[in-house]
């Protein structure tokens, strides 16, 4: 018997009124169906303006939906009880700049009805976990964007939520920060929690997500496990080699030759893999990696959502 979904949205729609005199309706989200299962890391993807933030804001009640039904943790949306078990981090959060992180977390804790002892304890633990102990008493107006993001994460975790909803959690973070967020998300999953986050940083999604949904123009394009969405090309293998001039390799099985600095990326028919490997070694080169060709998320984006051929190896930001 499958556990009920942690989040279930059916037919979620929202239009904005645009213009001052003649008010037209601009649809931001049309008939969205979404399901997030317990214990998974769910990625919510899409280009700018596709409606990702709108969806999350609708879920949290910052925007009023035109149509649709939402259930969170098995409860109807209007029931305030589920909010005690959900944590939310908006994009580019603005927190009160006259408060210190400690005071802000204490305030949030009060809203959850935590006792003063619980608030102090949770606050201290979260600040430590997010590397903010040394600035716990500094007013937030002096914080950099990255540090503000961390405080934002802390406030989302004050109530130890079952479901964590994050809007672009990696945005504006340096690599250290991003690693921190990544680890945090994985920690949540390890603890049996569920994480839903929106992002346009595709390698992060690839690295973390169990399932994803892709949004375009306010409509759901596709949803499911990554492996299902990103097509696998089983007929060819991808080969990384170095130390040779592969331009000189003559083999009809090599479909694509790509120079990446000192390395070469070759796409090879699967049944001829062995022969090509031997040819490379014979030419004095080394094999660095062999793997099936999987369409990257970026490729998917470009292909499905418009754009040129696949980019070079290595993630875009």
């Amino acid at each position: 018997m499958e556990a009920p979904p942690v989040l279930k949205a059916v037919g979620l729609s929202k239009s904005y009124k645009v213009g001052h005199i003649r008010r037209r309706l601009r649809p931001a989200l049309q008939g969205l169906d979404l399901e997030v299962r317990r214990g998974e890391i769910f990625g919510y993807l899409g280009p700018n303006g596709s409606g990702k933030t709108t969806t999350l804001k609708l879920l949290m009640g910052l925007l009023r939906a035109d149509a649709g039904e939402v259930q969170v943790l098995g409860r109807p949306w209007l029931d305030p009880a589920w909010r005690y078990q959900v944590g939310y981090l908006p994009e580019n959060p603005y927190l009160y700049d006259y408060l210190t992180p400690r005071e802000y977390l204490d305030y949030v804790g009060r809203l959850f009805g935590l006792s003063s002892r619980e608030r102090a304890e949770r606050g201290r633990a979260l600040l430590e976990r997010l590397g903010l102990s040394h600035v716990a008493a500094v007013p937030l107006r002096r914080f950099s964007k990255g540090m503000l993001q961390r405080v934002g994460l802390a406030q989302a975790l004050v109530n130890d939520p079952e479901l964590l909803i994050l809007d672009e959690p990696m945005s504006g973070l340096d690599p250290v920060g991003r690693r921190l967020v990544r680890d945090l998300i994985l920690e949540q999953k390890a603890a049996g929690k569920t994480v839903l986050f929106s992002t346009h940083i595709l390698p992060d999604a690839e690295a973390l997500c169990d399932r994803v949904a892709v949004l375009r123009g306010g409509r759901l394009l596709d949803a499911g496990p990554l492996s299902q969405i990103l097509k696998l090309d089983v007929s060819h293998m991808e080969l990384l080699a170095a130390g040779l001039d592969a331009a000189r390799l003559e083999d009809p099985a090599i479909r694509v030759r790509q120079a990446l600095g000192e390395r070469w990326r070759l796409e090879v028919e699967e049944r001829s893999l062995g022969a090509v490997v031997r040819a490379v070694e014979a030419a004095g080169g080394r094999i660095l990696a062999v793997q099936p060709i999987r369409q990257s998320l970026e490729d998917y984006f470009f292909k499905e959502l418009g754009g040129g051929s696949a980019g070079p190896w290595g993630g875009a930001d």
């Binding site: 009023r64 927190l95 009160y96 006259y98 005071e103 949030v108 809203l111 009805g113």
Partner: protein, 259 residues
């Protein structure tokens, strides 16, 4: 659940108070109010036999003027700013109702005004003491009604802030406060504009907040007793109008989108 509601409202109120306490503009305004009151000591020297009246007049005028400015400023900035800067986004995701947030803000601002008014009143009493006079009950009554008028200003500012931008809500509130002081002119509009239809005059008069109701400065200056019934009536008017403004503001706040 009722107790949870109250504690959340109080949490918002306490945080709002903390925000105003850390707002420097407030201190400047209170400082100027106290300065104005103290200058009464100087001005009294320039006149004949007027020191007590001048000090009271100046002190009450300062409280009214600067108090209104403070109420306008905090009422507009503390709600508009929240909406514009989106600082309430993470908060509304919590189990915090929109009405709890709105009311909590109001109570926080009301408490701030109470503290400010008390500080200015203390300044006035001390200034009077310096000339050997003491405060009388009438003075306290006049201060109380000024405080009520400040609550109304804040409520109006909050209503307008939840509907429109900070600049427009500031101008709108200021406009209402100024026009509200001319309530008697509106009521007698037909002396100046004979063609004005009676129903229009009535509607305008009752709709616009009548700030003259709160003016007991003359009684305080001349030591007239202020009957408790008058204070009671003014309190009722203030309570109803404040309630009206808050209810309207809440209605708007509850149903709007926060983008």
């Amino acid at each position: 659940m009722g107790r949870g509601r109250l504690s959340r409202i109080l949490a918002v109120a306490a945080n709002t108070f903390r925000e105003t306490v850390r707002e420097r503009v407030l201190y400047n305004l209170v400082f100027f109010a106290l300065l104005m009151t103290l200058s009464g000591l100087l001005l009294a020297q320039l006149s004949i036999r007027q020191d007590e009246k001048i000090i009271k007049d100046l002190g009450l005028a300062a409280m009214d003027l600067f108090g209104s400015m403070i109420a306008l400023f905090i009422g507009v900035s503390l709600v508009s700013k929240e909406i514009e800067r989106r600082s309430l986004h993470p908060l509304l995701a919590k189990p915090l109702g929109r009405d709890e947030f709105f009311l909590g803000k109001f109570f926080g601002l009301a408490f701030t005004l109470f503290v400010n008014t008390s500080a200015m009143a203390a300044g006035l009493f001390l200034t009077l003491l310096a000339t050997g006079r003491s405060a009388n009950l009438g003075l306290v009554g006049a201060i109380y009604t000024i405080f009520l008028s400040l609550l109304l200003v804040v409520a109006l500012a909050m209503l307008l802030s939840s509907v429109t931008s900070p600049a427009l809500s500031a101008i709108g509130t200021l406009g209402l406060v100024i026009v509200g002081r001319f309530s008697d002119v509106i009521r007698n509009m037909r002396e100046v504009v004979p063609g004005a239809p009676d129903w229009l005059v009535k509607i305008l008069y009752y709709a616009i907040p009548n700030f003259r109701n709160f003016d007991f400065k003359e009684q305080a200056a001349y030591g007239d007793p202020i009957p408790l019934s008058a204070l009671g009536q003014v309190t009722l008017y203030a309570a109803f109008y404040v309630g009206l403004a808050l209810a309207a503001g809440l209605a708007s706040f509850r149903s709007r989108d926060f983008e």
